[in-house]
């Protein structure tokens, strides 16, 4: 695979993955019943996440990436429901479990952090009490042990003066501090995997880096896996070793991050890369993807990206390309995945340079 890599590698390869995957989605469908039809938001998504691995899930708004994450965590907003496929957590299929049992099983294996750390913290509780809550309530620690554990976690996510901060309320902390607290809360349940839904989108760039550093450190030192949902390719390239690109509720390309970002084999991934602004470009014109995302209320014939695809051929409009392996972990759902050099407007090095900078 490494022969395909010709850009600079920022990302140390993930630790060799062994054992049971912590999270497997098999052909998961999520539908949202609406008054005027069923919105088929996630369409047969499969993905696998291991401990110690950082998996990125990218795509534009409405591509189903957040709902995929919510489905895995059994936190779908009503009235969205899983209508097909299975969710396997730590080797056990949770799809058929009773709700209480499923909650118990999922929360012992995985934790979730959210985009807006202010609304993700209870405004009426001291942050220390929020971090100590799971150790005290679920892990059965004594009050003092839970407090000690919470202080430990606050230090671990890089909060200074934890004794003092312990008694603070969420509104008294800065955005970066709040997201650290959220990570501490996620860690308090000792999960093998953290699902993160745009955890840095609401933060400014320097704070973004600090928060991503905390997550990266947890992965390297403690082997905590990460599934990161984002639309920010720069964040993905600096954080994730594996990448799934979603479009129209489906995974359209998956593989190692550096491979996907340097030699995309799906026109949508290529288009995403082209639309990343390049600060060194002489003309500052932002390239966009023409057209609009597909209407997920309607059945989609053929490839969902076909109406916007520069490399579209007749077959794309009638027959949906399956996610087919291109060797190793790399797979693409495109009829023309084998001939990227013949796509019009092929992706050059400039795109990659822009992302990795």
């Amino acid at each position: 695979m490494s022969t395909l890599v010709d850009g600079p590698l920022r990302q140390p390869r993930s630790t060799p993955v062994t054992g049971t995957p912590l999270l497997e989605l098999h052909d998961v469908d999520v539908e949202i019943p609406l008054p005027h039809g069923r919105l088929h938001a996630v369409r047969g998504v499969s993905l696998t996440a291991y401990a110690g691995q950082a998996l990125g899930l990218v795509g534009e708004s409405g591509s189903g990436k957040s709902l995929t994450l919510r489905a895995a965590m059994d936190l779908l907003p009503s009235p969205a429901v899983i209508t097909g496929g299975s969710v396997v957590v730590a080797g056990t299929d949770v799809t058929g479990m009773r709700p209480a049992q499923r909650r118990e099983h999922i929360s012992s294996a995985m934790a979730m952090i959210f985009q807006d750390a202010l609304t993700a913290l209870n405004p009426t509780m001291r942050i220390g009490d929020q971090v100590a809550e799971v150790p005290r309530q679920r892990l059965g620690m004594s009050r003092s042990a839970a407090r000690a554990r919470a202080l430990d976690l606050l230090v671990q996510v890089g909060i200074r003066d934890p004794e003092q901060r312990y008694r603070a309320f969420p509104h008294e902390l800065s955005g970066g501090m709040r997201q650290r607290v959220c990570i501490a809360i996620a860690l308090s349940a000792e999960p093998g995997l953290i699902l993160a839904d745009e955890p840095t989108t609401a933060l400014d760039v320097t704070i973004q880096k600090q928060v991503l550093d905390v997550l990266g450190r947890l992965r390297r030192d403690d082997g905590v896996g990460l599934v990161l949902v984002t639309h920010d390719l720069a964040v993905v390239s600096s954080t994730c070793s594996e990448l799934d690109v979603m479009y129209g509720g489906r995974v359209v390309e998956e593989g190692l991050t550096e491979v996907l970002l340097s030699a995309p084999r799906h026109p949508y991934t290529a288009a995403l890369l082209r639309s990343v602004p390049d600060p060194d470009a002489p003309v500052h014109r932002l390239l966009t993807i023409p057209g609009a995302p597909p209407d997920l209320l309607q059945p989609i014939e053929g490839c969902a990206f076909a109406p916007r695809c520069p490399a579209v051929v007749d077959r794309c409009r009638t027959e949906r390309p399956p996610l087919a392996s291109l060797g190793g972990p790399h797979a693409s759902a495109c009829w023309r995945a084998h001939e990227p050099e013949r796509w019009p407007g092929a992706v050059g090095e400039a795109a990659l340079e822009g992302v990795l900078r």
Binding site: G158, E172, D221
Partner: protein, 299 residues
């Protein structure tokens, strides 16, 4: 997980911490435990004056509120009677003070029971949804479909005169408002990320409800309760006026207005003064509610 401390960027200075648990009692900016705003100060002051007037009634007035003196009926103000006497020769000022005790107590208790019952049911309905929510909200619709005063009067009539009947009637009618308010707030709050996070972390449901949702949905119910106290006092006043209220000779503002109406053209203060007492009490409670909302930083 024994990772060393992660080096961090500059740490911003700590803001002073506040001991109160409920954010809307704590205020927004956060300096001081009781950062008051003018609205709240005026409202609380008025309320304190009214409560003290009731509590200190025996100290403030030498007269007995129920002792009749038919030789001194309908005296004009002055001559030892600050507001004159009523048709049975009882000191009006004294009765006004003692009535504050009765009306405030009945008003507060008549709000407390519906508040607790309605909040509990609304919390459960909003969280669990399903058939419980469906049935509860249809019951709410049925109660709301009647004019509340008519329903309260009918219930008191059926249950018989007395303060116990008033509590029961107002509770049976009043809980629906709290159930509705709290249910609506819970429907919003349970999709907030902190509620999702609490669910995701596998905490027991009772813990999520009591610790994560309840403190965040109480403000609306509290604000309504403040105005509901006034409504309850008005209900008591109305019942008293209709002869279904607090049994005589115990003074309350409603029966005072009712008894004074025969003399409204000659002794107007017999009705106007207790009426004014009701208005001022309502104003005080409304100001307290507004002040609390201002402190909470919402709306």
């Amino acid at each position: 997980m024994t990772a060393p401390a992660v080096p961090v960027g500059p740490v911003e200075p700590l803001q002073p911490l506040q001991p109160s648990r409920l954010p809307w009692l704590r205020g927004r900016g956060g300096e001081g435990v009781l950062r008051l705003n003018p609205t709240l100060v005026i409202g609380l002051s008025l309320l304190v004056v009214i409560v003290l007037a009731g509590v200190l009634a025996p100290v403030l007035s030498p007269w007995d509120p129920v002792a009749q003196d038919l030789t001194a009926s309908l005296q004009p103000p002055g001559n030892g009677h600050l507001l004159g006497t009523d048709q049975l020769g009882r000191d009006v000022f004294t009765r006004l003070l003692y009535a504050a005790r009765v009306d405030l107590r009945v008003g507060a208790l008549a709000v407390l029971f519906p508040f607790i019952i309605g909040t509990t049911l609304g919390l459960l309905a909003g969280w669990f949804g399903g058939w419980f929510d469906l049935v509860l909200m249809r019951v709410v619709d049925m109660v709301v479909a009647f004019p509340s005063f008519v329903l309260i009067i009918a219930l008191v009539f059926a249950l018989g005169q007395g303060t116990a009947s008033i509590y029961i009637a107002i509770t049976l009618v009043g809980w629906v408002a709290y159930a509705r308010i709290v249910r609506g707030e819970v429907l919003v709050a349970k999709e907030q990320e902190y509620a999702l996070a609490a669910r995701a972390s596998g905490l027991p449901t009772w813990r999520i409800l009591l610790r994560h949702l309840l403190p965040n949905v109480l403000l609306q119910a509290f604000v309504f309760a403040m105005s509901d106290v006034v409504l309850s006092i008005l209900a008591i006043v109305t019942l008293g006026y209709l002869g279904l209220g607090v049994p005589p000779p115990t003074p309350d503002w409603g029966s005072m207005i009712s008894e004074g109406q025969n003399f409204v053209f000659t002794k107007w203060y017999l009705t106007a003064v207790p009426g004014l007492a009701v208005v001022v009490t309502g104003l005080a409670l409304a100001l307290v509610a507004d002040g609390v909302v201002q402190r909470s930083g919402r709306r």
